[in-house]
Amino acid sequence: MINRRMLLALSVIAPAGMVRPVHAQSDTDRAAAFVRATGDKIVAVMRGAGSPEEKRRILGPIIDASIDVDGVARFCLGRFWRSATPDQQKRYTELFHKVLIGNIASRLGEYQDVRLTIGRSMPRDDNDVVATTLERPNNPTTTVEWVVADAARSPKVIDVIAEGTSLRLTQRSDYAAYLTRNNNDVDALINAMHQQLAEPKG
């Protein structure tokens, strides 16, 4: 016979233990499907024919559509975002787009024969994290986690965690160190990024 305490316990557990995971599950599933679709698109570009220049041109829109580049740019500037003028913010964000695409495009050759396998996905904080493994010939297998925000409506990647190291955290500490050593001058950072773009990438 079901006693009252059991009913009470059930009524507490049911919303917490049944309803929410189902909802979160569909979100993480969506996040996983999104990462799979985006990964397939990028891998197709990497494997496909065409000059590096053409690939870079195709890659730009894919990256803009799948990565929250503006958000990541703001995150990477950290506390300096608020001290920057609107004009600086605008120039910085535009440069950040170019630097990011340049960095990804410069590594296309390395990932020509990459194989992406989608693993488990789970909610973390307000986002969904999709675990994947990257396999390349003659390279150790690496685990890469994709942090996806807003999986329910318009999913966007906000961070990539390779072997436990977050790309956006690393980038933020790089910029923070550079700014600290250059009188917290956002213009100095913008100039350095300009220079980075001007240098030929291997």
Partner: protein, 281 residues
């Protein structure tokens, strides 16, 4: 004291000069180190900038100027010695041979690995380490072939720094050490203990063993540098402040290893054994 004593040889000009030079050299090194240490403390940002202060505390790198000096020295040595050597190593040996060398080196590290698994209270990891050693040393021909991974005993990295972390020892401020690279007081102490835990440290007195130990040391350096050739080149090319980037990467990587160790719940069922119907979690 009798200056004419026949037992004391008369100091020749050359001896005096040598002694003087040696002494001066020692003073120079001492003064250099002193200067580095004195110059070596970072000035915290003013207290009226709480965000900058919070950043400074979070970075936890009070010896940053000293660390940057050692980073520059290491980077210079790496550019002229280790990196070209690793490139040559990659050029000369085919991938399969390099993997075999890596496997054999990893197999030789079993005593240190196993001790740390035990110190960490990780019986399943310790079991995997033991099985790997038994399988790879025999079927895998002295560890050259990693047969054990395919049989359900995957490898894992561990060291005494992680053991200390699992005991709750905090890492402390960031250190960039000559030759060893990014570290912390905890991980540097762990490195020393790992050396002491390695039986090869203690049997290296006979002539043959000495050569073996040097060969192992050299191959280890080449092997690990070769594996990081591309990522390190990439970081140096894309980072505005490579030192800060390596600092961040090192810290995050160690934190990831510590979390993975704490969460390790590997199943004890090897792949050749009937698997349970529900995956072990």
């Amino acid at each position: 004291m009798n200056a004419d004593s026949p037992t004391t040889p008369a100091p020749t000009a050359i001896n005096v000069a040598w002694a003087f030079l040696a002494r001066t050299w020692q003073y120079c090194i001492f003064a250099g180190l002193l200067a580095v240490v004195l110059a070596g403390c970072a000035t915290p940002p003013p207290a009226d900038d709480p965000e900058a202060l919070a950043d400074f505390k979070q970075t936890n790198d009070p010896l940053e100027p000293t660390n940057r000096v050692f980073y520059a020295v290491n980077n210079g040595l790496d550019t002229v010695i280790l990196r070209p050597a690793a490139q040559a190593y990659r050029f000369v040996l085919p991938g399969g041979v390099r993997t075999g060398i890596h496997n054999a080196l990893s197999n030789l590290g079993t005593p240190v690995q196993l001790s740390n698994d035990v110190f960490q209270g990780q019986p399943r990891r310790a079991g995997d380490t033991t099985m790997r050693f038994l399988i790879n040393s025999t079927v895998g021909v002295l560890g050259v072939f990693d047969v054990a991974t395919g049989w359900g005993y995957p490898n894992h990295d561990t060291d005494f720094g992680l053991t200390l972390a699992s005991w709750g020892v905090p890492d402390g401020p960031f250190l960039f050490l000559p030759v060893l690279g990014p570290s912390s007081p905890r991980d540097a102490a762990g490195f020393g203990v790992d050396m002491a835990l390695d039986p090869f440290t203690w049997v290296g007195k006979t002539p043959g063993m000495q050569e073996f130990n040097w060969a192992r040391f050299g191959l280890n350096a080449l092997d690990s540098r070769e594996r990081y050739l591309d990522p390190i080149d990439q970081i140096k090319k894309t980072a505005l402040d490579p030192y800060a980037t390596f600092r961040s990467l090192y810290r995050q990587h160690r934190q990831g290893e510590i979390e993975a160790l704490a969460k390790d719940d590997r199943a004890t069922v090897p792949v050749w054994f009937p698997q349970p119907s529900t995956p072990a979690r």
